[in-house]
Amino acid sequence: MTLKALGALIAATGVLVASLPAGAQGPIRIGASLSLTGTYAKLGNYMHEGYKLCAKELNARGGLLGRKVEFVVYDDQSMPATGVRLYEKLITEDKVEAVMGPYSSPITEAVVNVTEKYKKVAVSPLAATTSIFKRPPDKKRYYIFMIISPAEVYLEGLIDMAAKRGLKTVAILNEDTLFAKAAANGAAEIARKKGLQVVFQEGYPKGNQDFSAILTKIRAANPDVVAGSTYFDDAVAITRQMKELNLNPKMYGLTVGGDLPEFYTLLKQNAEYIYGATQWEKALPYPGNKEFNEAYTKEFGREPVYHSAAGYAGCQVYVEAVKRAGTLDADKVRDVLLKLEMKTAFGDYRVDQDGFQIAHKMVMTQWQDGKKVIVWPDELATGKPRYPMPAWNQR
């Protein structure tokens, strides 16, 4: 009885597993797994919208190689193991003709083993960790391409501004995960190069909510600058607890989270003066940026964040490479991607021989009267930074 049921189940699995391949001249299907649920859900969904808008605009202009483009997206629940299985499914079962990267560095690090195995070009718009791309020669990866600036330079702007003002000491705290730690280590290295002293550097586990111990230690070190390598929830919690502990540096900046609109909604005047590092801002004068903003807001009823723009631009970069190569063949598209120089709504694209991004620029924003103002670098700035940060109770 049970055995029969078991047999039936296995048979049913077999039938469903052998699902239908794509028709030859149907749409070009591009596969991706994205974190639609789980810890990265918020940002994964922004990225998904970037992909969707890219495909929609492309199809409105006649598609790619004379065919429509269609995204096949599954949810990896923010888990690398699920992502690995889903890319395997996309490539060997759904037989998609192309893939795009997933959200986040850890998941990319895991799934890229699958895309490399099947020789699929994987333009990965939101993998910012250098170690995914820069590998020893015997472990080199050939088909992965980077769109955003690496984690290590996220806080360069904050450190640069601090050095120019003659500040001397910096404290760094980070979530202890692949990307956040790389960003913290990068910031520490830049600080040392620019002559600042790193008086404190410590990680906290993902999902941490109580930062009082770590912030008390930072207060004891009395740094001029506090730099946080964060995602979002931790960025909000750290800021609230800094106020409670009256930790009051001259400058305070964050990697991810400090630039999101929700950050200001939650913190109101306490978000003022806080610097946020971002890959992209809607005010930046990049070609097509204004149109992208309008189309995105109209399509999804909310404003894009840099994750949306990176997804959108990553898709455009891949599409451009396919157009120039005239084929979806991975080796030919790879050759084009290695040489391609392109300006998108997200900024510049150019990679070195490892597929590592070298042209795209980070910017630093600051909350001023409820608005984000770009304060670094000078050539892209839309305003002057307000300095120093006043005491928490004088705002």
């Binding site: 009885m1 597993v17 639609l36 949810d75 395997e88 170690s131 202890d176 990680g203």
Partner: protein
Amino acid sequence: MTLAPRAFLTGLAVLAAALALYPIVGTGYGVRAMLQLFMWIALAGSWNLISGLTGYVSFGHVAFFGAGAYAGAILIAKAGWPWLPAALAGGAAACVLALVIGYPCLRLKGPYFAIAMLGLNEVLRALTSYFEGLTGGGSGLSLPTLHATVPIYYAMALAAAGVTLLTYLIITSRFGLRLMTIREDEVAAEAMGIDTARHKLYAFLLSAAGPGVVGALAARDQGYIEPISVFPLATTITMIVMALFGGKGTVWGPVLGAIVLFVSQEIVWARFPYVHQLLFGAIIAAVVLLMPRGVLGLLQTKYRLPRTL
């Protein structure tokens, strides 16, 4: 009894042969999905060994999976071991951990054991983040590229079969009867002369070996591990739900639960990401309320199937 033992064994042999030949015809995804299904069978079956049989509910069983994953991955990445001995070492590491933890914790009664196990998992996660030189800390550990999905498929299948066979051997032995006596009434078991502490510890050790081995195999197959992806509470919950759904304390219950839940997740839920979590919660509630002994437990009562199924 509706199935003669001989028919049952023949069926099993046919199934084993079919699974052995599957990688020849299966796609990359098919093989990988089956591999992960075997992993879940081994995990749910192992949880069943301690929690289904003795009634000591472990809320931190993923700790053994993670310990095996890290032990195996470190041996592969830092000491250059081949993956098969590394997987066995992963199992051994999990057993050592079980010995150290089980000796004091299995003396805890009721919910205290469950909570101690929950804590163990958090402690291990913190420790792997802390010993950066060895584990890579929060940045994780990236293993050398190796495309060995098919051999790992067979290893995973053996692990799943091994755990299931072990469960059968235990349930049909005096040892198993003693474990179930502990579950029903520990004081009575003690009064009958059963060395309960020792029996529980043995069961605990056996239940840790499987997760240790499959942890190391999964790490090798995935090629990259980090603390949050090998010590998630969600993995423990999934193995508990699988064992409960199929029928805890039975041989085939965890197998059935793993197959049904994994397959439905792959086929149905992957297309409805937001409904998926809701459904999972609903299944837990439904199983606990409507069939506390699981699908197999229900069938056993209704059709008078043997207890050893």
